[in-house]
């Protein structure tokens, strides 16, 4: 029993990792007042470019760079549309999602002739699980052994990267000048502008950070969690991350918790597939839907209240409409 729990949690970490990167990314974007439903598309694009580059260069790290690169590009496109040209945030986001879905497969097929998949990655082209020192040895030590060898050890580098990313994100957001200005831009751009800070620059830097973080999440999908890109492999994780972000009330640690919760539910759903308690088969769909239902409950204010940044989604303009 204890073992299965450990294994569940272990799976939870693997499943939650991309969600965490994505929702941290979303946090920076939305805190600056830019709605970001384009997380999905960026995850997908980064996953593709990451895997493709890793395959061609044989280096997972180059793959990571390339993946981040593309998702930053998409983020800039989002900024170009929403900040520079005051386009509708949601529409721009959708456009990017659809573009990513189409382009990844089209180019993938053109380059690799495998129906949009990239060839399987192996060796250095992939972020293999890292066995922490002594994991093997400790494996048989009762409780801690299992904890250490299964839960703590044996994840890919990107997972361990989270250990610094989350606190860092928190520090930047709440303890630095940059964070203060970022939050201000999301609440009242006019105030920031009159304070002599460039709203445009703030928001662009926000979307860039967003692209960077979500890029890591995307590469994780194709270069760490699995060993190749599969068409549409983001499969709604971007939206799930958005849900987690809101569930976490636009704060890093609570968002982290939400991601882990959602990840756990997912891990559970995977294992409960086709499983039936007695002769009553529990519909997995029910479990799969829990994160979304929970989020709705939260938004309904039944579980605390999630208040979005005030100026979110409103293009900033000096001219009166």
């Amino acid at each position: 029993m204890f073992e299965t729990i450990i294994l569940m949690l272990d799976a939870t970490i693997r499943v939650a990792t991309p969600l965490i990167f994505a929702s941290l990314a979303g946090m920076f974007c939305e805190r600056s007042g830019i709605v970001n439903i384009a997380l999905e598309g960026k995850l997908l694009a980064a996953a593709f470019v990451g895997a493709a580059t890793a395959h061609v260069t044989g280096s997972a790290w180059l793959g990571l760079l390339a993946g981040i690169g593309i998702s930053v590009l998409l983020a800039l496109l989002h900024g170009f549309a929403t900040i520079t040209h005051r386009g509708d945030h949601v529409v721009s986001g959708m456009a990017i999602n659809i573009l990513a879905a189409g382009l990844t497969v089209t180019l993938g097929r053109h380059w690799f002739h495998q129906g949009g998949q990239t060839p399987a990655l192996s060796g250095d082209a992939r972020f293999a699980p890292i066995q922490l020192p002594g994991a093997e040895a400790m494996a048989d030590v009762p409780v801690i052994g299992l904890l250490y060898s299964e839960l703590i050890s044996g994840h890919s580098a990107l997972v361990y990267l989270l250990i610094i990313t989350v606190p860092l994100a928190w520090y930047v957001m709440f303890k630095t000048r940059f964070g203060l200005r970022l939050r201000a831009v999301g609440e009242s751009p006019a105030a920031v502008d009159t304070a002599g800070i460039s709203v445009v620059r703030m928001r662009y830097s926000a979307v860039i950070i967003c692209g960077l973080l979500v890029g890591i999440g995307g590469v994780y999908l194709s270069v760490a969690q699995t060993a190749q890109f599969i068409p549409n492999m983001s499969a709604g994780k971007g939206y799930m991350a958005l849900a987690a972000l809101i569930f976490g009330k636009w704060r890093p640690f609570t968002a982290l918790a939400a991601c882990l919760l959602f990840g756990f539910l997912d891990a559970m759903a995977i294992r409960l597939q086709g499983v039936s308690i007695g002769d009553f088969a529990i519909p997995v769909q029910a479990i799969e839907a829990i994160p979304y239902v929970l989020t709705v409950f939260l938004l309904a204010g039944f579980i605390g209240k999630a208040i979005a940044p005030k100026a979110i989604g409103v293009p900033y303009t000096k001219e009166r409409e």
Binding site: V35, I37, L77, F80, A81, T82, H85, R86, G87, D88, V90, V91, S92, M94, A95, I96, N97, I98, L99, A100, A101, G102, L103, V105, T106, R109, H110, G116, G236, Y239, L242, A243, I246, A281, P283, Q285, A286, E288, A289, Y292, V293, T295, V296, L299, A300, G301, A308
Partner: protein, 373 residues
Amino acid sequence: MSQAQVPAWVSVALLPAINVFAAFLVSALLFMYIDISPIDAIKVMWTGAFGYAEGIGYTLYYTTGFIFTGLAVAIAFHAGLFNIGGEGQAYIGGLGVGLVCLTLGEFAPWYVVFPVAIVVGGLFGAAWAFIPAYLQAKRGSHIVITTIMFNFIAASLMAYLLVDILKPETTMATESRVFAASSWLPKMHEMLSWVGVSMSASPLNLSFIFALLCCLLLWLFIWHTRWGYEIRSVGSNPSAATYAGISYVKIVIIAMLISGMLAGFFGLNVLQGELHQIKLNFVEGFGFTGIAVALMGRNHPLGVLLASLLFGFLYQGGAELSFEYGVDRNIVVVLQGLVILFSGALEHMFKPSLERTYLKLFAKKASPSEGVA
């Protein structure tokens, strides 16, 4: 305010045209990159979509779907609501239509089933929109997010129903049994043959007429009834609406119910009209594309109609493309993405330069009028 000097058609017709053109231009590059001559491609798409009766049939068949989801988004927009839930509402609405066909359809003819399906489909769609609407109105939960969530919930629900309930033992595909043929909506070519015109078979069916009717009715509703007035008031200034005795809660819910209803009609075309059985994911993103349709159509029923036609063309033309060239179907998805990007998200990009050039060229006499103050 500079618009004042530029005639309406520039921003209403010319600008969107330019945007779409830009989208095509960019995708042309992509086509060339994967060694397909864009010229041939567009030729194939055009003839495929409008060149022959069956093609037109398919184009209009897709158009019908977009009209429903596009109108759904548009009406919500007028109430200041962003309904991203079209996907889910269409899905659930389709369930309603399907259930009517599966039950009533067994013994009643289509002309009895159709009206009932309209009502039930509309109700189901509206019901699915109700909860997000209620939460927005009463508890201020952001409707964009709630509707996204409801899309996923709808997907899970439908998967469950199709897999565990509606799917007959015999089939393995996740789909319901086929409706009784008597309940199928008459196809356009059948109806035409009744009046002696012959047209080759296509999925285009009666619901197309119904869709056009919806455009007309919605236009009247929004700009020529007091309820439309109330919806637009709430959409542009809620507190003023409250002052005027217009109930925010009531209007938000009404607008979303109508929106959900329109999305719910989607199933008429696709299920009762063409597939004749409930299938997994039969909405296939039409709900999302509806947002782009509404945007390009400037939330005006006529605009929505035209935008739907464009997307119908993209779908059918794209199918034709992959049929003729065997090129990857996803390239069409890219094209759609670009259209949404340029005519949705970047709609204002060319506006200033366009207006400037227009004024340079034609409007020498138009001297700026004095301040209105």
